[in-house]
Symmetry: C2
Subunit: 145 residues, 2 copies
């Protein structure tokens, strides 16, 4: 590939990602959902199924354990979840959503879908699917170097 096009790839990816995240933050705020985009990513996983240890969360988020610790601190402080100590392995906690935490799911997902629809506006289903595969390919390339 032309080396002059290789240089700005990071910029293009960074711009697309930044705009997407900002748009999500905006949508969540508009909808009155008290979550930042990063908190949303954590909650998204918890809504799919509670009781993951924090290290699994970190892995799934591509973040380190320390970052997960602190996002959970905030979410616990704000009453969206609780850490429950695990009897089987006392190093770990089970994360359990509160009623409040569970209640935000629908609205938050609607915000997320609105962002995606803005992002993909004007693309056919086929073009969007090709774009998805492109991103998945990149992820795979980084995960198996």
């Amino acid at each position: 590939m032309n080396p002059f096009q290789l240089i700005p790839f990071g910029k293009v990816m960074g711009s697309a990602h930044t705009l997407l995240v900002k748009n999500l933050a905006h949508q969540l705020k508009q909808a009155g959902v008290p979550l930042t985009p990063d908190q949303y990513r954590v909650m998204m996983i918890l809504w799919e199924g509670d009781s993951l240890p924090q290290c699994k969360l970190a892995e799934s988020l591509e973040r380190d354990r320390a970052s997960v610790t602190r996002i959970l601190d905030t979410l616990e402080r704000d009453g969206l979840l609780v850490r429950v100590s695990n009897a089987a392995d006392r190093r770990m906690f089970s994360i359990e959503l509160t009623e409040l935490g569970r209640s935000l799911r629908l609205k938050a997902i609607q915000c997320s879908m609105a962002v995606t629809q803005t992002a993909l506006r004007g693309l056919t289903e086929e073009e969007a699917a090709i774009g998805f595969r492109f991103l998945h390919h990149i992820i795979k390339n980084f995960k198996q170097p």
Copy 2:
């Protein structure tokens, strides 16, 4: 598009972007280039042409002025650039690279290209070009809502 596929789009984009940024941080460190990925993005613009006011930098980076202020603080502290007060408009500074700042260009760009090559490994030029257009399309969608 199938609503179940609309939900994880942010996650896919986030993963690809995160892995790319982490890989760049790693490459820069390996090559002994004293820049974080965010600092690299700023320097990239300055290498193309000095003397931009900070607000233009912010616009180009999709960041707010405050963020640019603080990245420049760090880069100035580390001797990569200097703020020169502008006689014509005393609100602004001209950012000027130091010799040290200019000297990092080649190595840093090589790191960036290595990251891109990893990202795009296994894709044809045509597929990569389609991926670029996909990302550009998303950027355009967010910029003209």
